[in-house]
């Protein structure tokens, strides 16, 4: 975990979050607005006027990418928050539950995990038709908590069995209090890792679903929508594919990096 790597990762995250927050300032024009002459201005290569070119419908790709960042990042953050929250609640509850319930809860998590997530989301979305970004985020969150809940469960069990926790329990400290004072700190690295991984998984998933016409409805710009707007031939107009894919790849790489960073905190401490 080099310093340069971490700098790059944090830089990417800062840039993406900054773009998401400051979208109206960075690209004041309506991202769905057409060019002056939609027939003439379509599929223009990058130029001074359109730094990232225009799409099939003569819209400015730069503006759509900036505003798309806002939607895609929001979806990823909501879904990740949901994944972490459910996994945390499920994992810690199971860790502190009586043995029979603990087993049942973990088997349920296993069952949820073993149904391919994409298949579930795919069928749900094709059934319901397209969903608003927030609803899509919720569906993605509900479908993705199972693996993290198992990790958190194991960590929580370990934390519960730690001598300091057992002595606190012996002293009669309340369960909720123990959860927050003893278990939560032990889970923190796992939570950070889980959150970063969740973002790294949800972003390509949203892109794929939207690309296949079952994600976020038109005309809302998202990273997946931009790829979809590139048309059936991904090699036709390179600027329609390269820019959104580069942003997706950079973000996912940064999140994966931060996840592995969180996974090995001791190692990085040594490196310093």
């Amino acid at each position: 975990m080099s310093r340069v790597g971490r700098l790059l990762a944090y830089g990417t995250v800062a840039a993406v979050l900054g773009a998401a927050l400051a979208a109206p300032v960075l690209a004041p024009r309506d991202p769905n607005a057409l060019g002056d002459d939609p027939t003439r201005d379509r599929r223009l290569a990058p130029s001074v006027q359109h730094p990232l070119g225009t799409d099939d419908l003569s819209r400015d790709v730069y503006g759509r990418l900036i505003h798309g960042t806002r939607v895609s990042v929001s979806i990823a953050l909501i879904a990740a928050a949901l994944i972490v929250a459910i996994a945390f609640a499920w994992g810690t509850t199971a860790a502190f539950a009586p043995a029979w319930l603990r087993g049942a809860m973990m088997i349920f998590a296993d069952v949820v995990y073993s149904v391919p997530r994409l298949l579930v989301v795919l069928s749900v979305l094709t059934f319901t038709g397209q969903l608003a970004p927030a609803t899509l985020a919720v569906v993605l969150g509900l479908a993705g908590w199972a693996p993290l809940s198992r990790i958190l469960y194991r960590a929580a069990v370990a934390a519960r069995r730690a001598p300091s926790t057992e002595s606190a329990m012996a002293l009669g400290v309340g369960r909720v209090r123990i959860a927050f004072s003893h278990v939560l700190p032990a889970l923190r690295p796992h939570l950070v890792e889980g959150a970063c991984m969740a973002v790294a998984v949800v972003i390509p998933l949203e892109a794929a679903l939207t690309y296949f016409g079952i994600g976020v409805p038109r005309p809302t710009a998202t990273w997946g929508r931009l790829l979809d707007d590139a048309g059936a031939d991904p090699l036709g107009a390179w600027w329609l594919v390269v820019f959104p894919s580069a942003v997706i790849a950079a973000t996912v790489m940064a999140m994966n990096y931060l996840a592995s960073d969180a996974r090995a905190p001791r190692l990085t401490a040594e490196a310093k």
């Binding site: 069952v111 073993s114 391919p116 997530r117 795919l122 319901t128 790294a200 031939d233 991904p234 790489m253």
Partner: protein, 336 residues
């Protein structure tokens, strides 16, 4: 047989458990998925036999006829027990859309997906283990860093995009390999010996896409596992005993990590089947993912239900078996 009676009796409970646990889990998955998909499907807007404005006008009332034929006019309280009963008998019904038996559709769809997923998993695991082991042994070298960067970067690109670009270049632009389907149309009904090269040719691109991401994930884990194992005493001990370094790496360390690798196959499988659904779509591969999308669009209830059900059960079963295998390997390791 008789002379070995004692040993056999000892192993039966373990073996039974190893078979029963995955089976139990698969049945749980089955019940859950059936109920959820049944309710979900009926709550949706849309009707498989509603007349379509895209159809020629004269076709409208044929659909109404079909509605009665398939029993969709009966109440849900009658339909659900009927469905469970039929499932228990192994009867998956007939497709609304093509009137074909669902079992046949599902069988061929899942077989076709397995044709992609199984080689992708094996190749991915083999490639990933080889890469990861080599990287672990040369941790910190320039080549390790380059490989690490490559796997890291590859995993960040959405799989469907890789499939699209690879297909666009290799199949459509350069016409080196087929872009669609599973077998050349002309040889599709030929004897399997003739068909096989065509299937292999069609599978190269989708399998490569799936295998590459699997390999990247496995390589990263394997690298870490090898670094950890190399630090352990037995490797140093073996080194001290004069066992050659490559032998230590490829025999001792690999055996050490075998359990993890096997468990990993189970963990990777659901994601791989999910990824296959998207890759199938890009390459028009007639697998479970493609069949699901087609059936959902047509509101073909029995097919959707059976596909989700059988895929989930197949994945759960394979994953449990991989897990059981991993436990076996771990036990073996502990015994050694």
């Amino acid at each position: 047989m008789t002379s070995d009676a004692g040993r056999v009796q000892l192993t039966i409970p373990g073996a039974l458990l190893a078979v029963l646990r995955p089976l139990g889990r698969a049945m749980l998955v089955a019940l859950l998925v059936t109920s959820v998909s049944f309710v979900g499907l009926r709550l949706l807007p849309g009707d498989p036999f509603a007349p379509s404005p895209d159809d020629p006008p004269e076709l409208a009332h044929a659909r109404a006829q079909s509605r009665v034929q398939f029993g969709l006019d009966r109440p849900i309280s009658v339909q659900y027990p009927a469905l469970l009963g039929a499932l228990a008998r192994g009867d998956l019904g007939h497709s609304f859309a093509t009137a074909q038996p669902v079992s046949g559709i599902v069988r061929s769809a899942i077989t076709n997906t397995a044709i992609l997923v199984a080689p992708a998993l094996l190749i991915g695991l083999a490639l990933g283990v080889a890469l990861g082991t080599w990287q672990g042994a040369h941790a910190g070298s320039v080549r390790d860093k380059i490989l690490g960067g490559a796997t890291f970067g590859y995993l960040a690109v959405p799989e469907f995009l890789v499939a699209l670009i690879l297909g666009g270049l290799v199949a459509i632009r350069w016409k080196l390999l087929p872009a669609t389907g599973m077998v050349g149309a002309e040889v599709a009904t030929a004897p399997w010996l003739v068909r096989l090269p065509s299937i292999v040719e069609h599978a190269v691109l989708p399998v490569s896409v799936l295998a590459m991401s699997t390999a990247c994930v496995v390589a990263r884990h394997q690298r870490a596992a090898v670094i950890a194992a190399v630090g352990e005493g037995f490797v140093r001990g073996a080194g001290a005993r004069g066992v050659p370094a490559h032998r230590i790496l490829w025999v001792h360390v690999l055996r050490r990590t075998a359990g993890t690798i096997c468990a990993m196959a189970g963990v990777l499988l659901p994601a791989l089947v999910g990824g296959a659904a998207l890759v199938e779509r890009v390459f028009s591969w007639p697998g479970a993912g493609s069949a699901l999308v087609t059936a959902v669009a047509a509101r073909d209830y029995p097919v959707v239900q059976a596909l989700v059900l059988m895929t989930a059960v197949a994945v759960a079963l394979s994953a449990s078996l991989a897990e059981a295998g991993a436990q076996r390997l771990a036990q073996g390791e502990a015994l050694v």
